[in-house]
Structure formats: C-alpha cells, structure tokens
C-alpha cells in the first residue's frame, strides 16, 4: 500500500546500499527482523540500516501528509499505517533493550572480544547504553551491599553471576531457503547425532543452538 500512494518516497531508499528496496520490502524486512528478535533467546545482530531507512520513510510520509489537504480519507489511513510502522519499530528496539538489560555482561564481553570482520550486535547508541547500565549496576551493588562487606569479599563477578542466554531453548521456525545437512545434537544420552534437511516452506520446532547461524544469515524465519 505504501508504494502505490506515496510514489515520492520511493527514491529515499538505498542511498548508501547497493540493493534498492521498495518501501514494501523494507517494511517486510523490518517485520522479519522484529519477529526474529522477539523469539530468539539471545541478542541478534543489529539491523541499524533497516532502522535508519524506516525512520527516513516515516519522516517522508509525515511531510507528505502535512502537505495533503485536510479531511481526505487517505490521510487518516496513512496516519494509521504510520502509527503501525512506528509501533513495530519501537517494539523491535524495546525488545533489543530488554535483552541488553538482561544479559549485559555477556554482551559487553562479546563486544570486547569481537574480531574486526564480524558484525556487531550493538548499534553505537546501544553500546553506550549497555556500558552505562553496567556502570550503574556496579555502582548500585557497591553502595548497597558490597562496601559494607569485609575487604576480600568486595568483588562480585557479574559475568558469572548474571545468567547466560539459554541457547538450548526451543523455537518455532519457517524455512525460507532450502538447507541440507543440519547436524542435530542429541538431547539424551541414548540418541546420537543425526542429520536433517530443511525443505523450503516447512515449519519446525527445534533447539535455537542448532539453527542460530541460519537465523543470522536469514535462511530461516522464527515464528
């Protein structure tokens, strides 16, 4: 719907990317990133380019609507769509923030030891947020409890005390690209490793650890 009624907005996409997305595809990829983020137990890669493009789109739509004449039915429908897109975007960002708050020592540790070629799972603002959150938590624990303890007990190792994300939790997924030879590890001692193929369009319930790289590459969609 966006592309029919807002042809002027179509040029704003793909400014710095090689692939030019239509607005409909952009919203589709935002929704997919949102669903993946909601159902994955750990923090996924930060899709800041999608976020930026969507914010640009929303600004353009806002401008167009201000110029349109009042009382037009299209204006209210457009506003409704804008509210919906804004909700999806903020829900995506809120979900990421929740995971950052929950797993902050492990995420910051991963950032520190990340190699140069790997994509970061935090945008620059999220990194600042995570660091401040960690500093605040440490200050708080120190002032409330630790400074009253005997000197050799005054450290708390946040990396060990905060629970790690549970990569063994089960997730539902839909396969978008055909995959072969996925190695599934046994859950109990009696089973052995076995290999499965994932057909396109099929839906599975499987441990997150097995398909984590596929989610990152976009070959499967969590539902």
């Amino acid at each position: 719907m966006t592309e029919e009624l807002d042809p002027t907005a179509q040029d704003s996409d793909g400014g710095s990317e090689e692939v030019v997305l239509t607005p409909a595809e952009l919203i589709e990829s935002l929704e997919q990133a949102w669903m993946n983020e909601k159902f994955a137990p750990e923090l996924l890669e930060s899709k800041s380019e999608i976020v930026e493009c969507v914010m640009e789109q929303l600004d353009h739509m806002e401008e167009n609507l201000r110029r349109a004449k009042k009382g037009d039915l299209k204006v209210s429908i457009h506003r409704m769509e804008m509210e919906r897109i804004r909700y999806v975007l903020s829900s995506y960002l809120r979900c990421r923030l929740m995971k950052i708050e929950k797993f902050f020592p492990h995420i910051l540790e991963k950032e520190k030891t990340a190699h140069e070629g790997e994509l970061s799972s935090l945008s620059p603002e999220e990194l600042v947020f995570a660091k401040q959150y960690m500093a605040n938590t440490e200050t708080y624990l120190k002032n409330v409890a630790l400074k009253h303890m005997p000197p050799n007990l005054q450290m708390v190792d946040l990396l060990r005390s905060v629970p790690k994300p549970d990569l063994d939790s089960y997730v539902f997924l839909r396969v978008k690209e055909r995959q072969e030879n996925i190695l599934v590890e046994p859950e109990t001692d009696e089973q052995r490793d076995y290999v499965i193929d994932l057909e396109e369009g099929s839906q599975h319930l499987i441990r997150y650890k097995t398909i984590a790289p596929l989610v990152a590459s976009g070959a499967v969609q969590l539902i």
């Binding site: 979900c95 929740m98 005390s161 629970p163």
Partner: protein
C-alpha cells in the same frame, strides 16, 4: 516485555543455580543430612550436642551427622579433601522413588520439600552412585504430574485455585501461574481489554504506598 521488573529466573534445573535468583537462594537454604569426614575444630560451639566438649577445643569429631543447608554443603564438598560426605534425603531414595513411579499425581510435593525438583537437580552435584536413578525419577515424576497441572491451569478462570495448588511444589506453582496468566491475558484480549491502556503494576503499588504513608 510490558513488565517493569524482569526477575532473574531460577537456574536450579540446569547445571548450576543462578547467583542472583531469589528462588534459587530460597531453594538452596534447605537442609541436607551430611556426615563429616574430617574433624572440624572450634565449630562445636554452634552444634553443642555434637561437639567434643571444651577440652577438645569444641571440635566436631569425624563421622558425626549434621544438617547443613545446600549452599554450605556444596561449597564444602570436594573430591580431594573429603571434608563432607552427603547422605541423600529420604525423598530421593529408593523407597520414595517407587512411590513416585507408582503414581506421581497423588503425592503432596509441597509437604515433601517445597523445592523438590530444584533441590533434586542440584543434589546430582554430589556424585552419589544413585544419580542416574534420581534424575530418571525426577523426570518421570514431572512427566506424570504435568498433564494435570496444565489442564487445571488452563481451565480455571476466576475461581479459587488453592485446592489445586496446595500439593504442587514451587516450580510447578510457577508453571501453574504462567498458565493462569496466559489464560487471563487471552480472556482480556477476547473482551477487548487488551487495547485499553492501564496503569502499570509498579505505578499502582507506589501510589498505594504513598496513600498509606499519608495516613
């Protein structure tokens, strides 16, 4: 995600309990019967009936039976230094295991130890020869009881559930509450209350506290 406070969930069923989880702290406070393997000097002041008396510097002699909480027993347990050896509590031994395998639904797990599953999972750290049987028995007990918990949590809406919850241990109660919450949320959505904006729990409790303080 609409919660203001994310509680740290219990990790007791996994490899290690979570440091910051309140449920785990309560669980590891339960007592475990233990036998000392080396004499412990000066601890007899706490356990007066077991100590050697003032002449021996209040030592707890070797081989005496004590009841220690799980966190202490876990900290002191070590293969090399042999400070403690752990006896299994009665409910994890063979007698009760056959009771559970007979019919798991009738047992009052709350009375037997409100943290049956969590405590049992952490007991496996003490390398008893019965570990495989204990873990199998825990798993089978849970499988036997789960169906009834799921059914009862999904089908009691706006009723008094105390009779149903009385015989469940803490982990099962958590499951029951999750089921109830899911049911309540679904009913809210059906009635259309999901799109109404309500004040968050945190704000409501703070408002109550302020009105109490003003009186």
């Amino acid at each position: 995600m609409s919660e203001a406070y994310f509680r740290v969930e219990s990790g007791a069923l996994g490899p290690e309990e979570n440091f910051l989880s309140l449920d785990d702290i309560l669980m590891s406070h339960e007592k475990l019967p233990v036998r000392t393997e080396t004499p412990m000097p000066r601890l007899g002041a706490f356990f007066l009936e077991r100590s050697g008396g003032a002449e021996t510097d209040h030592t707890i002699p070797q081989g005496s039976k004590l009841e220690l909480p799980l966190w202490l027993a876990k900290g002191l347990f070590d293969h090399k230094r042999r400070i403690l050896s752990v006896d299994l509590p009665k409910i994890y031994q063979q007698g009760w295991r056959t009771v559970f395998s007979a019919d798991a639904n009738v047992v009052d797990l709350h009375k037997l130890g409100p943290h049956f599953y969590g405590f049992g999972s952490q007991l496996l750290h003490f390398d008893s020869p019965e570990n495989a049987d204990i873990s199998q028995s825990l798993l089978q007990t849970f499988i036997g009881r789960f169906r009834r918990i799921m059914d009862s949590s999904q089908n009691t809406y706006n009723e008094d559930t105390s009779a149903l919850v009385a015989r469940l241990d803490e982990m099962e109660r958590g499951l029951f509450q999750t089921g109830q919450k899911g049911l309540n949320d679904f009913q809210c959505w059906e009635k259309g209350q999901a799109s109404q904006i309500t004040a968050s729990n945190l704000v409501q409790t703070i408002r109550e506290k302020f009105t109490d303080m003003e009186d």
